[in-house]
Symmetry: D2
Amino acid sequence: MARDGKVRVGIIGSQFQADIHAAALQIMPDEAEAVAIASPTPGNAAALAKRFGIARVFTDYREMLKEKDIEEGEEMIEAAQSHGVLLMYGEELLFTPKYLKAKEMADAGAFGKIYLIKQSEKHFGPHSEWFWDVNRSGGGALMDLGCHGIAFCWWFLGRPAMTSIYCQMGTYVHSKKTRAEDNSLCIIEFADGAVALIENSWAHRGGMDDRIEIHGEDGVTYANLHMGNALTTYSENGYGYAVEKAPTTKGWAYPMFEELWNYGTPQELNHFARCARGRETPKITGEDGLAIMHALYAGYASAGAGRKIALPFAAPSLKKPIDLWLNARAGEMHTKANKSFDFQVEGGL
Amino acid sequence: MARDGKVRVGIIGSQFQADIHAAALQIMPDEAEAVAIASPTPGNAAALAKRFGIARVFTDYREMLKEKDIEEGEEMIEAAQSHGVLLMYGEELLFTPKYLKAKEMADAGAFGKIYLIKQSEKHFGPHSEWFWDVNRSGGGALMDLGCHGIAFCWWFLGRPAMTSIYCQMGTYVHSKKTRAEDNSLCIIEFADGAVALIENSWAHRGGMDDRIEIHGEDGVTYANLHMGNALTTYSENGYGYAVEKAPTTKGWAYPMFEELWNYGTPQELNHFARCARGRETPKITGEDGLAIMHALYAGYASAGAGRKIALPFAAPSLKKPIDLWLNARAGEMHTKANKSFDFQVEGGL
Amino acid sequence: MARDGKVRVGIIGSQFQADIHAAALQIMPDEAEAVAIASPTPGNAAALAKRFGIARVFTDYREMLKEKDIEEGEEMIEAAQSHGVLLMYGEELLFTPKYLKAKEMADAGAFGKIYLIKQSEKHFGPHSEWFWDVNRSGGGALMDLGCHGIAFCWWFLGRPAMTSIYCQMGTYVHSKKTRAEDNSLCIIEFADGAVALIENSWAHRGGMDDRIEIHGEDGVTYANLHMGNALTTYSENGYGYAVEKAPTTKGWAYPMFEELWNYGTPQELNHFARCARGRETPKITGEDGLAIMHALYAGYASAGAGRKIALPFAAPSLKKPIDLWLNARAGEMHTKANKSFDFQVEGGL
Amino acid sequence: MARDGKVRVGIIGSQFQADIHAAALQIMPDEAEAVAIASPTPGNAAALAKRFGIARVFTDYREMLKEKDIEEGEEMIEAAQSHGVLLMYGEELLFTPKYLKAKEMADAGAFGKIYLIKQSEKHFGPHSEWFWDVNRSGGGALMDLGCHGIAFCWWFLGRPAMTSIYCQMGTYVHSKKTRAEDNSLCIIEFADGAVALIENSWAHRGGMDDRIEIHGEDGVTYANLHMGNALTTYSENGYGYAVEKAPTTKGWAYPMFEELWNYGTPQELNHFARCARGRETPKITGEDGLAIMHALYAGYASAGAGRKIALPFAAPSLKKPIDLWLNARAGEMHTKANKSFDFQVEGGL
């Protein structure tokens, strides 16, 4: 694999995230570039390729991965492995510039010991239809969005062990089209004594909303990524685009500037490319991703059991995480008994 | 008891709350007036009486209550009883003008069905030393501040039955001077399917912070009582007073205007006076207060057990609510077993 | 005239301001009450009277003023005169609670010497049609709204002499229906060395906007009356009313709570009633109003001449203030000469 | 001159702006890199070079410009000339991402016709001592900061001719150390009927403040660059750095994230590098800079004369722009006559 020059990226997929990644690669073009795109839907990949000037188009991503000069695939992983890392894990919030400032201040001692960290991400539901089908998505708002909050809080605190998780969830607004939870509250306790509150929603009106709070013994900071950064704007006419998932641009709205850069997508891809070249060490790894996935399983188990679950948690062999909640809820409806469900839990509560 | 003229109020106590109430009675003087004040600390009552022009001073409140023309006492209760009410319960947040606007919009259908309601009240700890002693206070931030949030959310939603409570708490910042929790997260589920998130803190830096959020299927509103209403202000010199519990008025700060009116204290006292005269029906009663107190007990039990507790909850005969958490925590430290504590719970989870 | 009891107020008019004043009298009912209302439009006065429980209705306000027990009229003035005051002048901003906090901080030395004070009031045009006709209104946004800003800044600074005024104005958005200026920028210099910037608009979209800034050598404060205090709100359904002149309550909006109280209308009427009873001295008088009116004349003259005009300013005998600008503009269009118009100016520039 | 590869930049100077530019070149390294630095102060250039890994250091910038491989100098200008441009002009606000979003919305018709555009930049005075000496700086806050606002508003509106300027200024806070104006209000009228209000200050407490407002017949947007984007933060301990010219990081403050990127400095340098390579056309040129400088002269003349000055303005042969104001003020103090000063004005008022 090449050690020099730009990392040549092949994109799998052609919709929302593919678009974001192609755009992000253009914002910070010095380390990586998109050279191919694969999507099974006829025409989709070609359309995106045309828009971003991507040379090659595939309908079968396996064909694309055979190409010698495309590196996002086995070669990239191999390169990563040779640096002692199993797999990289993509967590944009670790690259969100506004949140990095909070981390910088925290590391400089601004807040003293942090006892509470909050992150929330909310909107009115996912872009693609398949998310609503729990058999395909495996879970709802917690699964889709909570993975970001868990990763972020854990990383922000310096990776102390997660000792327990408690989740409250429900299908409040979209019950006609999904069995997935569309709102969740999630409390994680850490070995260093801190606690995280992570809020996620597919039931939130008014456009995308992402924010954090850091509460320490000596201070506090509030960082609102969307309404905070936005230009407070009123328009009779509208103007095409305000922010991800905004319902309209007429009337009052909170248009965001340089959305991808403010999310941290180009910075994240830059980091990946540099990791692939061995110039940087991944901020977050596949193992980290696994720990987060286990916490998500425990979160659903917690929502089902109505109690906090100790971490680490050995997930039972279920087809999808959300079953830990859905099955318990179903049982609860049948028996109405005041019993907790038992789970195989490693370690004590 | 008189049916006409101003209600003649006798104040018991001479510190923070007594001061607020005397001041509030002057802001809305048409229904009630302070005519006497009682405090055991020599000089305190006299000082407050002088400042607010209150005629009579007592060191024994029982002496004050014997006075024929003072109505806050048995006569007022008797009058209330004769209107079919056992006791009135003082919950200022039901009179906070900014929050009333949220209620007005909600009742007008602005948000459709509400699925999540949030209220938080935070500062760096109570005014008086006795709060820190759990033997006198019975609990910490949840007890002191959470009662407001529970009452508010319940009332806002239209008094649906509370079906469960889950609390997470800890002594994060003030463990050297108290065993009480100085931060708590509290999740309450209601029979109508809504959920409340109530956050309380004695560990919050930067001055008093009180805010609500209302999330419904069709909309959302954010009302920040302190930093929201405040005049964003920078001063090299300071200016005496910014807001309750603000650490300083130098540098950037968020001074509040007409603090008592914005809290709703005079409006609340006005309502009480009118209730005493039979002109209004209490918005919240002694029975309501009892239900809230039971929820607080269940909250401590929940924090101790690490699981949500069904409501209504028959509190065990303990000296103080916080023991439900402290005893469990002590037990947990000794046994490290992964057991839940058993409580006498009415109804199923 | 009575010296005791509530001041019995007769309201002349039945639309926007009459409604506000009737409502305000109900908010603070301890000093004054509305007892009669007069309006030439058949039915209007009766409708308002019914809504607010006002006893008597007149179509000719002169008939109303003959009533012995109505005091807003000659008797009130007479009472005021006997206290050495010619006439009271109604300036609500002197009673706006949020702005009073700025004044309190300024008087406490928070900002040191103030060098710049800003006030702006903006919306999309007046309630009643007659405002658009300069022959009836005498001027546009500066006349309608600037009087508030001039009075406020002058009072805030402690009434230093106004030494000059410069105005820039134009008919930017509503030229099809009015010759009046719909946007104006106004700079006033004071004898104490401070300067005021007053912005007014009938061309501002998105609802009423009123704000101040105080800039001193030692600090600064920003007070935004509308969007600042508001509950940031998103609604799919709307909810009846957000704030004065808001275009809609659907989508994002900034609904205000207790609008009249936050403007200061009831407090102002309370003050008037107490002045009428001799219990308070007017904060601002008829003479003050005259000085402000002269400044407005000078403002129009300044806009016409393209230069700052020294104050005090002896207005030429013109039918309406706006002619000082309109005539100059007309002249300019005809001659295109680079001449300043001459005005009778007292004192030097 | 090279047509390919990165533009090799030599930096002249070693303090505030040199630091910003060296840092900005590292943020967007794909088009340009700093290869040398020149500063007459011994050690300064070397220290900066060390911090940013810049290879060569000079004490005489003329020596640096002789280097064959350094392009910021004659070669760059020559390259620019060969593309038909006399000189590039650096105006960061044309690259400020938040403000570019306002421009994008405006160009998409969000606000309809714009009638008022506001920009303000304020802080408590410049970094270097020489700014305070009008013989070296030629002017104060208007000269230092107003050039940005004039360029921005003009560019934003699409470069309509500026037809007049009116400035009000004074030395309000720093009169002990400077004769320069430390606060100015500036009104510019444009041929398309729009008006700009530009506020600048060296007397503003609380840290750097830069904001814009766009007011159109169909909408409005508010973009606050500093307090808007910032993380609202309280710290007992401080944390090193909040934002340019912030007085402290203790207490409440508004720390900015990725300050240089949010200002637009790296984007601006990227643009310059691409212009030098002939890949982009300068957004603003030396000729534009000249027009802005003439407007500044006219602004000082206007402040001296107390009237608006028609543009274009043929500046009299004075040593420094501020003399147009200082001389008039001196004259006014001597004569106290109500006369305007005469200037050679091209075109009619």
